[in-house]
């Protein structure tokens, strides 16, 4: 009770808890985790050094917070001055005391019975700005909660959920704005990315991820209405470069997923990364990883913004470990392709040309009888985050080594109905595996790997202490040496891990947070 009081009292002194300047300068307060990937550059790196290869063997679970739902628990907690803000599936937002895991408040939103979501009633976390916590909902609303008590400040309808739109991503809060994108690539939506006024919930701009009639790129769709149901959702939180004032977000598959016959052309801006002017939502540049995709290789992974030497030149780049199995390095001011290299087994293309465009291999198209292709539709990696350590200059990727049979069937658009045109059957069991791979951030060259028993659904976190944390589908939460990949510690959490790992400190003590099964675990040294 005392803790709850002190949190409220503390907040009362500081009505603007997290002004934009704090998130912008997140490196000044490594004890907090103020945005989905901690920093706007998407690196999911914690500078905290208390837990290190020398003492990680003493890492212990300190508390566990259980949710009361069966759905996957994919949240990344936001940590602000001793309080954790999380989402719980399906549409609940909670504030927890970071010392004990005891709940400070909770806001449970009823979920309509007729929501349409392809892949589970999931939510990946909140954003915070000033005194407000933001979360998207499965019925496609963006909601602003008072950070002190969870009361709703505003509720903006982003889309009509009955047509298959949903919000599953953690919003991205920048100066005065909240950025979200919609899910729904399996339901024939036309995807978009929106900005809302953080104070009022008023929509500020919308960028359609499929260009409309008369706009550049519209001719990458055939004549007719296929573009109106062409998918291209944006369901994973992006990155932001404050100097360039550009937001970078990955886009998902074109629809129907596995039957591309009705959508001849490149299908812009599906399976791309788009760079949008944060003030206007105007497209600055785009890079399409998988033109005319037919394997559901959503490019909905987290872009990481890094600086370093490329071919003897200091450059600001965007790196992207894509679901299609390739790792990409792009110039983040212009979108110029600088490097691309597979980080997982790839058979859908014979390789990339000098511009990073994949060579078409029609024998790898989905078929009626099924075509065996790597990676599976779940990709070489997926929504769970990669990490970049400025200390080691390595990119860490959680990798899925799994093939699958891709099938092609007819597809017909009906509002709110599946619009997929096929599907897949994965090659599972001992024929599939997983790994954490460390890549040279600027070339994609593999430096080391740590093998996992099966393809993971957990992201990775790298730390200033020189560790990389990850999770497995067999419940292993583990720490690797960031320089060598050597396993240094592991703990059996007892459930499948669909998780994104983060770290913060409370009372000067570093904590590593991870979800497993239907629980959030706090680990620390004892």
């Amino acid at each position: 009770m005392r803790l709850l009081f002190s949190a409220v009292w503390f907040a009362a002194l500081l009505p603007a808890q997290v002004p934009y300047q704090r998130i912008l300068n997140a490196d000044k307060e490594p004890q907090n985790w103020l945005s989905y990937s901690r920093t706007y550059n998407g690196q999911r790196y914690s500078p905290l050094t208390q837990i290190s290869p020398a003492n990680v063997s003493r890492l212990k679970p300190l508390w566990t917070y259980q949710i009361e739902q069966m759905d996957h628990f994919e949240t990344t907690p936001i940590a602000v001055d001793g309080v954790l803000y999380i989402t719980e599936p399906p549409d609940t937002v909670s504030a927890l005391d970071a010392r004990t895991g005891r709940r400070l408040w909770r806001n449970v939103r009823p979920v309509p019975g007729d929501i349409v979501v392809c892949c589970g009633r999931v939510n990946r976390g909140v954003a915070i700005l000033d005194n407000t916590v933001f979360a998207g909902t499965l019925d496609a609303h963006l909601i602003a909660f008072n950070a002190q008590n969870g009361a709703i400040q505003w509720d903006a309808k982003v889309a009509d959920y009955k047509s298959g739109h949903a919000l599953t991503l953690a919003p991205l809060a920048i100066d005065g704005k909240v950025i979200v994108g919609v899910a729904g690539g399996e339901y024939g939506i036309r995807g978009y990315i929106d900005a809302y006024d953080a104070k009022t919930g008023k929509q500020l701009w919308r960028f359609y991820t499929i260009p409309g009639s008369g706009e550049p790129g519209h001719d990458s769709w055939p004549p007719g209405d296929s573009w109106e149901h062409g998918g291209s959702p944006a369901w994973v939180t992006g990155a932001y470069d404050p100097e360039l004032n550009l937001i970078y977000m990955g886009t998902g598959n074109p629809g129907p997923d596995w039957n591309p016959d009705t959508r001849q052309g490149d299908n812009l801006y599906s399976c791309s990364v788009v760079a949008l002017d944060a003030s206007t939502g105007k497209l600055k540049w785009h890079f399409q990883f998988t033109p005319h995709d037919s394997h559901d290789y959503d490019s909905t992974e987290v872009p990481m913004l890094v600086e370093g030497m490329i071919r003897g030149q200091q450059r600001k780049v965007l790196t992207f470990a894509n679901r299609n199995g390739f790792y990409y390095v792009l110039d983040r001011a212009t979108g110029e392709f600088l490097a691309g290299k597979p980080y997982a087994k790839v058979t859908w293309t014979k390789g990339l040309d000098d511009n990073g465009r994949p060579q078409v291999d029609t024998s790898m198209e989905p078929s009626e009888k099924g075509t065996l292709v790597w990676p599976s539709l779940y990709g070489g990696t997926n929504w769970f985050s990669p990490s970049y350590s400025p200390a080691t200059k390595l990119t860490y990727v959680s990798v899925r080594e799994q093939g699958s049979y891709f099938y092609k069937t007819e597809a017909e658009y009906r509002k709110g109905g599946n619009y997929i045109g096929g599907g897949e059957r994965v090659v599972a069991g001992d024929k599939a595996s997983g790994a954490v791979r460390a890549l040279d951030a600027f070339t994609g060259k593999q430096k080391w790997e740590f093998r996992l028993q099966s393809p993971p659904w957990s992201g990775v976190l790298s730390t200033g202490g020189g560790l990389v944390f990850g999770g497995s589908m067999e419940g292993n939460f583990y720490a690797l040496d960031a320089l060598t990949g050597k396993p240094l510690w592991d703990y059996q959490t007892g459930a499948e891990m669909y998780s994104n790992i983060m770290s913060f400190a409370v009372d000067g003590q570093q904590r590593i947070m991870v979800t497993s099964g239907h629980a959030l675990f706090a680990f620390g040294l004892q």
């Binding site: 739902q69 069966m70 759905d71 009626e368 099924g370 049979y405 099938y407 069937t409 599907g423 897949e424 059957r425 069991g429 001992d430 093998r451 996992l452 028993q453 497995s472 067999e474 419940g475 292993n476 583990y478 396993p487 592991d490 059996q492």
Partner: protein, 266 residues
């Protein structure tokens, strides 16, 4: 807890059975359904006389507590409804979506369900069941590795309902060429410790850091993989020996007849 879960899975099985039953669409047979031949299910009763459906009901199973109105007075699903179940699976249960079978494949499954319903008694397998049982427990030494109804030595799979899960041809293949198809949860592994000891057995569980295996004696070993000098997985080799030369043709037939008679009804 596990007991309550069993109740809910029982209900899930019961609902699956209903769906199979519903596959029969011949209107002339609807008055005398094959279901009559089977023992009707009677749910346990509460002290106050209502069917006892108490337990832990995971919301994700979406089990309706009221008979869905769309079924009306019908006892059976239409072929279209059956096709939908096969195509989409039953969300929240282990029944997977099998859309990839295609229209032809799904039609074949529906036809097969009709055939199953028509045959309310299991196929008769030639052979002397009593003699087969004697061979199983005696000459074959099968109880050294298999349980039936939980009795016996548990190294290989429980076989109490093997006749309901495997055809006679499957059983013959398993007896004569056990390595032709080895279930992944009975993978044979050989582990060599850093001290030089070698243990062979069936993998019980494995994660990225540890492995658990059981020896034929029933002894369970658990190691951290880092503590093993060598870990061999022998996916092409069954822990079970071939019985092709152990039994005569008649003995093999008797054993298959016995195994086929095991249908989970003890």
């Amino acid at each position: 807890m596990s007991c309550r879960y069993r109740i809910s899975s029982l209900i899930a099985v019961a609902s699956l059975t209903v769906m199979v039953a519903v596959g029969q669409t011949d209107p002339s047979s609807s008055k005398a359904p094959a279901a009559k031949a089977a023992k009707p299910y009677t749910p346990p009763k509460t002290p106050w006389g209502d069917p006892d459906l108490q337990g832990l009901w995971p919301g994700s199973l979406n089990i309706p507590l009221q008979r869905p109105a769309r079924f009306g007075e019908r006892n059976v699903l239409t072929d279209e409804e059956l096709a939908a179940v096969i195509t989409n699976g039953i969300p929240g249960t282990e029944m997977p979506a099998s859309w990839y079978l295609g229209e032809e494949g799904i039609t074949q499954v529906i036809v097969y369900i009709h055939v199953l319903r028509a045959k309310s008694t299991p196929p008769r397998i030639d052979g002397d069941i009593a003699n087969g049982r004697g061979l199983f427990e005696g000459k074959g030494g099968c109880t050294g590795c298999h349980t039936i109804g939980g009795r016996g030595h548990a190294y290989g799979p429980e076989l109490g309902d093997i006749g309901a899960r495997r055809t006679a041809a499957n059983l013959r293949q398993s007896l004569e060429e056990p390595s032709a198809e080895v279930a992944e949860n009975f993978l044979l592994v050989r582990a060599t410790t850093r001290q030089g000891a070698t243990v062979s057995g069936i993998r019980v569980n494995e994660d990225s850091f540890t492995i658990q295996l059981v020896e034929p004696s029933g002894r369970v070993h658990s190691w951290r993989k880092a503590d093993l000098a060598r870990l061999e997985k022998r996916a092409d080799e069954s822990p079970m020996p071939s019985y092709k030369t152990v039994f005569s043709a008649q003995e093999m037939q008797d054993l298959i007849a016995y195994l086929s008679s095991l249908r989970g009804e003890q």
